[in-house]
Amino acid sequence: MAYSEKVMDHFANPRNVGEIPDADGVGEVGNPKCGDIMRMYIKVNGDVISDVKFKTFGCGAAIATSSMATELIKGKKIEDALKLTNKAVMEALDGLPPVKVHCSVLAEQAIKAAVSDYYKRKGIDPLPIVGEIPGCESCACEV
C-alpha cells in the first residue's frame, strides 16, 4: 500500500480544514468505531456552494479525500456537487489503494449529508434530491 504524491500533498497540506460557524448545512458520516469520521460544513449562496470546510478523524486517505472533495465542490452549483462521485475524487488524487476506497465513498457521502442538512433546514425534503445516504453498513468493516 502506498499513497500517490497527490494524496500525500492533500494529507500534508489539506485544503479547507476547519469549521464554518454559521454554516448553512452540516453533514457527518462515518463512525468512530471504524476509525473514520468526516464532518462537512457548507455555505450556500443561491444554488452555489460558496464555501466548504471539513473536519476529519481518520487515516491519511480520509484526510486527503476530504480535502480533495471540498476542493472539487467549492464554488460549484449544488446540483453539480451532488454529481461528484467517489471515483472522481479518487481520480483527482491519482488513485487510492484498494483498502482505502471506502474513504472516498465517505467523502462523497459527507457532501451529500451536508446538502441534505441544508435542505432540511430550509424545510425541503432532501430525499428526492439527494437520495439515500447509506450508513456504515455500506463498507466492509464490522462495527
Binding site: 500534508a12 468512530p32 471504524c34 476509525g35 469520521i37 476529519t56 478523524f57 481518520g58 487515516c59 489503494p97
Partner: protein
Amino acid sequence: MGRFVYADNAATTPVSKAVLEAMEPFYTQYYGNPSSLYSVGRAAKKPLELAREKVAQCLGAKPNEIYFTSGGSEGDNWAIKGVAHEQSKKGKKHIITSKFEHHAVLHSCEALEREGFEVTYLDVHENGLVRPEELEAAIREDTALVTIMYANNEIGTIQPIPEIGAICKKHGVIFHTDAVQAVGHVHINVKEQNIDILSLSAHKFHGPKGIGAIYIRSGIRCPNLIDGGAQERGRRAGTENVASIVGMSVALEEACKNIDANAQRLSKMRDRLIDGLLKIERSRVNGDRVKRLPGNVNMCFEGIEGESLLLSLDLQGICVSSGSACTSGSLDPSHVLLAIGLPHEIAHGSLRITLSDQNTEEDIDYILEVLPPIIERLRSMSPLWEE
C-alpha cells in the same frame, strides 16, 4: 527533513554489519549444499552446526533441540498445528491461548477450530497480562496445548512465562511460546522456564528476514509442517538457508551478549519517552509499565487516528507504527488494544514506538520535539476533539 529516526524495531530491524559480513561468504564461496559430502558442502555444514549450537546456547537448549525455520510464522504454525494434530490422536482437542497473540498463532488456532478443535482465549486484562490462575483454571482433561506469547508485539507486555511453564508441567500439558519479540531482548532459559516449544525470528534482533528457529524439547512429538528431504534430522525439509542461519546466529549471540546493558539503556530511554509523551493531554500508555519489553512504547492519543499520525511522523523522518506492521492495510483497530479493553475509537489512535540498541537519546529528544505539535494539528482537524 532534519533527522532520520527508525523506531519501529518490533516490525523489523536493520541487519548489523557484523551479521552481513558473516553471511556473505556463503553466497559465493561456501555455497555448497550442506548435505553434500565434498569440500564446498562440508564447508557449509560446519558453520550450520556451529550456528545451531549458538542458538541453543542462547536459549539454554541442546543443539539437537533446535530446528531452523523460515521465520516466526512458520514456527508458530508448525508448533501449534503439529502438536494439536499429534495430541488429537489421543482425543485431546482443546487448546489454550490468549486473546492478543500474534496472528500467526491466532489464525493457526482458527484453522484448528475449523477442523473441530476447541480453543480457549484467555483474557489479558487491562494491563495486558495473562493471569496464571486463570490459565490453570482453563486446563482440562483434553487440553492438547497451551500457547502463550512471551512478549506482546504491540504493547510489549512480558507474560508470566515461568509460572505458566510450571503450571503446564504440573498438568502434563505441552507449552509453546511465541518468543519472537522476546528472544535477544530478555533472558530466556527453556529448561528453567519449563518451555516445551519456542519459536523465534531473526529479523527482530538485527538478523535477516525469512529465517528463524524453533526449539522443540527432545521427546516432544510435533509432526512436520514441511515434509521432504532429510535436512534438520528429517523434521524440516528444504535446502538449508546457510547464509541466513549463520547471520541469525551471529545476531543472536551479539544480542545475548549485550542483553543486560541494552535492556538497562533502552528501558531508561523508553521511560523518558513515555513520561514525556504522557504530558500530552488525554494520552495513555497501553500495557503494564513495568512488565514490558525494554524498547516498547505504546500509547493512545484521543481524538486522532493512528495512520495519519504515523504518516505525519514519517514526513518528519520518524518511522514508527500504529498497530503492527502485518495488519496495516486492515481497517480494523488492533485486536491487541481491544483485548486490553480499549474502546474502538481510542484503539484507532494508537502509536507504537519500538527502540533498539541503535537508537540514541537524541532520537528520543527528536521524537519528543516533533510529536506533540503533530498531535495538536491532527486534533485541530478532528471532529472528535472539542477542547
